[in-house]
Amino acid sequence: MMQAEEAYINLYKQHAKSVSKSCSDLLNSKRQAAFEKFQTLGFPKNTHEEYRHCDLRKVLSIDYGLNINRVRIPINPHDVFSCDVPNLSTKLFFVVNDQFYKNDKPIGLPEGVLCGSLNDLTETHVRLLEQYYNKLSEKSPDGMVSFNTTFAQDGFVLYVPAGVVLEKPIQLIQVLHGTVDMMANRRLLIIVEEGAKAQFLVCDHTLSSKHFFSNQVTEIFVGKNASLEYYDLEMDQPNITRVSNTLVSQAASSHLLINGVTLQNGLSRNNINLCFEGEGASANLSGIALGNGNQLIDNHIFVDHAVPGCTSQELYKYVLDDSAKGVFGGRILVQKGAQKTSAYQSNKNLCFTKDAKMFAKPQLEIYADDVKCSHGSATGQIDEKALFYMRSRGISESEARLLLKFAFTADVLDNIRLEPLKDRMRMLVEKRFRGELAKCAGCSAANCK
C-alpha cells in the first residue's frame, strides 16, 4: 500500500514545477501544505473506520498516468454529445478528465456570473476566489482531498453573485477519455452568494475501456438566503473508480438540495461533508445507488448541525444485484447549543441476491436537548408477497422484479425538482434495471435520443 503513495510522492517531488507551470498562483499556493498533509495522511486505508468497507488498495495498485503536462486530449465533447434534450435546456459545459474544455461560444449568462475553467478564473478573479478555494478542503482529514489539492491543475467554477437567479440550469458533463490508464484530479468550486439561486447538474461519463481513477473535490458555498440544487449523476463503466469529496458550507436561511444517482460504475466512494454555519438553513440530501456485478458503492454523509434552527433530511436507497456491495455511513452531529434542530435520516436497501451485501452505519450524536431527530436503516430482500401478487396477474417474474426495483427508488427520484430531469432520470433508472444502459455514450441525463 505504501508503494502507491510513494510513487505519487516521488512523482510530485520530481515534477512539482511541471504541475505548477501552467497553473494560477492561487492553485499553486495551496500545493505545498497539501502535499505535506498528504504525506502524513496517505491514501485512506480500510483500517480507518470510515473506509472499513471500502478497500482502495486494488484500484490504487494500477499504474495510472497523470496528465501533468496538460496534453490536450484529442476529443471534442460537443461532437460526442451533439444531441440535445427535449424540454431540459441547460447551459452546457465540459470537463475532459480534469481539464475544462474551452468553448468560445457566448454562453449568455447574467452579468457577474462566472462559469468556466478553475485555472483561468482563479487567475482572472483571484481576489474573489481566494476567499473560497481550498477553504473547506484544507480542513478535511481525508488524504484524497489533500492529494487532490496537491495535484489539481484545473476544474470548474460556478459563481453566482448576490441576488442573481439563474433561470436555466447549469450542466457540467465530465468525461473520462484516454488510451492509457489515467487518474483525474477533478476540482469543482460552486459559490452561490446571498439571495442567489442556481440549479446545477453534473454528469460523469466514460468514453474509454481503460482504467480510470477520478478523485474529485467539490467545494460548495451557499450564501445567506441562497438556494442551490445540485444533481450528481454517475453513469460510468465498471473500470472506473470514483472518490468524490463534496464539502459544503451553508449560511443562514440557505437551502440546499443534493440528489446523487449512481447508475453504473466500478467503485464509487462519495463523501458529503456538510456544515450549517448560519441559523435557519435547510438541506435535503438524497441518493440512489444501483449496484451490480462486483460494484462497490459507498456513500458517507456527514451533517454538522453547528448552529441552532437548521433542518436536514436524508434519504438514501440502494438496490444491489449480483455480488455488489453497498455501504452507507450517515453521521449527524447536533452540537451543543444547536437547539431547534430537525435532523432526519433514512437509509433503505434491497439485496436481490445472496451474494449482494449491504453495510449500513447510521450515527446520531446529539449534544443539545431541544431537537427533533430520527434515523433508520433497513435492509431487506424483495417482497415475495408482492412478487406473487404481480405474477398471479400474468406479469412475468423478471418484469415483476423490475417493477418492484423501480418502485423502490421512486421516492428518491421524486426529490428532483427539475421536472424534465426527473422524467429523464426515471427513464434512465428503468433502462439501467433492464440492462439497456450500456450502449449510450452520451450524457443521457440531458442528452441523447
Binding site: 406473487f388 404481480m390 396477474r393 400474468g394 406479469i395 417474474e397 418492484l404 418502485a407
Partner: protein, 251 residues
C-alpha cells in the same frame, strides 16, 4: 370441462393441508366452497394459482386441457385463471396504471396480440372501473396502498374485469365488506359472467351467495370435500352451522 382436480394433496412447511381434493367445474358454472376455519379453503386457491409457499405432494389439476401444476403463476394467469385475494397486497411505488398495463399487455402478448395503445388502455381502464364503481383517483395511486378494505376488494374485481379470466376464484371476497360494498362487488362479478367463464366462490357465509348464486356448494373439511349439494346446502349451513357436517364426517 374447464377445471378438473384429481386427488390433490398439498402441504406447507411439511404440514399436510389438502388431503385428496376432487372437483370438476364446467364452463359457465358457479361453485361455492364453504367450510370451517382451517379446513383448507385458502390453501386450495393458493395451490391452484401456484403460490410457491405451498408444495403439491400428490394429485393432478387440469385446466382447459392443460396440466396446471406444471405452469408458473404467470402462465396460469395468462391461461385464464384469476384469484381475487383474501388479503390484496400493497405495492408502494407501483402505480395501478403501470401494474395493469404490464398485466394486460403480457396477456395480449401470450395471445399473440399487439400491445394496447396508451389511449386504448386508458379507455379500457375507465370502462372496467365503472363496473365496480372504483374511484378514478385510485387508479393513479400505488397498487392497494392506502386503499380501504372495501376499495381493495373492489380493486380485485376491477382487475378481474381487466383480465377477463376463464375461471375466477373469489377468496373470501366478502370478508371486511359492508353491505353496500358487498352488493357492488357481487353485482360486478355478475356483470362479468358469461356462459363460458366460471367462478369459484370461497366464503364462510351464505350472505354473498344471495347475490352470486351458485350451481353447486361444496363443504371442505380437514382438507377434503366432504359434501356437495345445490344452493340449499349453503342455506342449511347458515341455520345449522358446521357441527352436523363434522359429526357426519366423524361417523
Amino acid at each position: 370441462m374447464l377445471l378438473e382436480i384429481k386427488n390433490l394433496h398439498a402441504s406447507i412447511e411439511g404440514k399436510e393441508i389438502l388431503r385428496g381434493i376432487n372437483l370438476s367445474i364446467n364452463e359457465g358454472e358457479i361453485h361455492a366452497i364453504m367450510g370451517p376455519n382451517g379446513s383448507g379453503k385458502s390453501t386450495l386457491s393458493a395451490v391452484l394459482t401456484g403460490n410457491p409457499a405451498y408444495e403439491v405432494t400428490d394429485g393432478e389439476v387440469w385446466f382447459r386441457g392443460k396440466n396446471l401444476l406444471s405452469m408458473s403463476p404467470e402462465e396460469r394467469s395468462r391461461e385464464g385463471l384469476f384469484l381475487s385475494f383474501q388479503y390484496p397486497v400493497e405495492i408502494p411505488g407501483v402505480s395501478m396504471v403501470n401494474f395493469m398495463r404490464s398485466a394486460v399487455n403480457e396477456h395480449r402478448k401470450y395471445r399473440q396480440e399487439s400491445a394496447l395503445s396508451a389511449s386504448d388502455f386508458l379507455k379500457l381502464m375507465r370502462e372496467k372501473r365503472s363496473i365496480v364503481e372504483l374511484d378514478s383517483k385510485l387508479a393513479n395511486r400505488s397498487v392497494n396502498e392506502g386503499f380501504s378494505g372495501g376499495e381493495k376488494k373492489k380493486n380485485e374485481i376491477f382487475q378481474m374485469a381487466m383480465l377477463d379470466p376463464k375461471l375466477s376464484i373469489l377468496d373470501e371476497t366478502d370478508s371486511g365488506l359492508d353491505i353496500d360494498a358487498l352488493r357492488i362487488v357481487a353485482q360486478g362479478v355478475n356483470k362479468l359472467r358469461t356462459p363460458q367463464n366460471s367462478t369459484i366462490v370461497i366464503t364462510h357465509y351464505q350472505r354473498l351467495l344471495d347475490y352470486i348464486v351458485p350451481d353447486q356448494v361444496h363443504i371442505l373439511y380437514k382438507g377434503r370435500i366432504v359434501k356437495t349439494a345445490g344452493r340449499e346446502l349453503a342455506i342449511n349451513l347458515e341455520e345449522r352451522g358446521y357441527d352436523w357436517i363434522k359429526q357426519e364426517v366423524e361417523e
